[in-house]
Symmetry: C2
Subunit: 298 residues, 2 copies
């Protein structure tokens, strides 16, 4: 039985980026599968090695957000993992089909996944999970407490050791999940990763943005962190609102001077940070409301 909140799963028989399939071939390459049924092989390297990549797009009133930005980032992750470049037209069409399975009101998400495929096959596996949002996102209003957790890597890890895949959005998220559990164990809602040399990085599933007066700062993405699609959308809006927006190496100690901070991501959108470790932070209600209204298209 498919209830409105049941996830819907669509598999793609992936084309190479250099293929030129017709619209009919693309349509035939996407099939919906039973989300409750097993549809993946245990021999898939995504499942056995976390060897794959993903993106999560927010869906608002039936419209997926930032399709091109997410596909561009998927392409960058693919290159970092030596996975075949995604066929953008096929993914676009598949997302269109997946989003059509969702309610046309309210919020939802698309998680798009590309793995190295079944061991030995040389054929990547690709799917999309579409779902309506289960949460009412009270954290956008009430905020979240975060604790800083060492990410173990120095700020220059991405250029120094690209095989560590810092800045790629891989399925190997066990550490991200462990960090969230550790944060909850400490009575917080989420974790803020910091580099081993003392710079603020990102959350396990979100970007950090910080307000210092009329200046908005996010950690430089050359520090091996993900370039945030939601953060980028917010930056465009914040600039139009008259804020100065900057990418910086942001020492953890500098957060003590912050006037406000947010964890931003595709589905939760902008969640104000109400404490970093033991230090409380006030919620900037006006800016929080403005950012979320913009992201929600209201």
């Amino acid at each position: 039985m498919i209830s409105p909140s049941s996830p819907r799963v669509f598999f793609l028989a992936p084309f190479a980026a250099t293929d030129s399939p017709t619209e009919e071939e693309i349509a035939a390459s996407v099939r919906e599968d039973d989300a409750a049924a097993p549809t993946l092989s245990v021999l898939d390297l995504g499942a056995s090695r976390g060897d794959g990549i993903f993106e999560t797009l927010g869906v608002i009133e039936g419209r997926p957000q930032g399709i091109e930005e997410h596909l561009a980032r998927l392409g960058r992750s693919a290159a970092m993992l030596d996975l075949p470049a995604p066929h953008i037209g096929q993914w676009r069409a598949a997302m269109e089909r997946a989003v059509a399975s969702l309610p046309s009101t309210g919020q939802g998400s698309l998680k798009i996944v590309l793995t190295r495929g079944v061991e030995g096959s040389g054929v990547p596996t690709a799917w999309i999970v579409a779902r309506a949002a289960a949460s009412d996102f009270t954290e956008r209003r009430d905020g979240i407490r975060v604790v800083t957790l060492d990410r173990g890597f120095p700020l220059d890890v991405a250029e120094r050791a690209p095989w560590l895949l810092a800045g790629a959005k891989t399925l190997s998220y066990a550490i991200n999940m462990a960090a969230i559990r550790e944060a909850k164990r400490r009575g917080a809602h989420d974790a803020l990763f910091v580099s081993s040399d003392g710079f603020a990085l990102e959350g396990p599933t979100s970007s950090l943005i910080v307000r210092f007066g009329d200046r908005i700062v996010t950690p430089s993405t050359d520090g091996g962190i993900l370039p945030g699609t939601t953060q980028a959308a917010l930056y465009a809006w914040l600039e139009a609102e008259g804020y100065r927006t900057e990418y910086e190496a942001l020492p953890v100690a500098a957060l003590e001077q912050a006037d406000a901070a947010w964890f931003v991501s595709s589905v939760r959108l902008a969640a104000p940070v109400t404490a970093i470790d033991d230090r409380p932070l006030a919620i900037d209600v006006a800016l929080t409301t403005g950012m979320n209204a913009m992201l929600l298209g209201r």
Copy 2:
């Protein structure tokens, strides 16, 4: 069609460690599934987040090696990931059934996997992949060239930041796979991870042991690396053969004084290292032969 080299897949309906199932209940909790068919949900956190753990056991002439050691390590990994402790009796019985599906001669492997299960279910997913060895393991004779690759973490990472799961054997192996690809790009066979503070650690899928005269050294496992089951079996034998065996923080620079080195693991067994970066290493033929004969039970 099941050929001798086709993998066989067995799923367990996992008992809690504190359950006391009867032999019949245990037998009923293990079912063989079609290895070629999809048997896993895309909503399984093992597949979507690399959020699970595994062990790989060598099978020699129908006998799985180091069952208790691997189950003990699976239990330690489970604790590090806040996964439910495995029911040892159930895993033992499932492995017995899985290994019975393999040829009783030659080599093979069992990969045992425990994931956090389908998102929201709270029920872990557990399976075993049994397969006959495809390789003839010429690297045991011819050796492997390795290149050192920075693991990004300092030696004290495990105590300093347990949420980074250093020393747990998780499904989040994208970095390990990327390191092997980088090693091959550099013309080598495998990678030797080194800590950011300059100590030799381990390979992406094996332990390092090094001979200095009559002294055998492996990197201390408190440095966030996996305690090797094959390494431990070799240490017992090497001690009986009159070698001094030691666990040490092993600076990369010290490898220049090595008389011989090996990558050791459950299936490949002891592969002599013939070069570390640009420095060639002689194969200790007698010791290599002796170690592999012992591991093969010959």
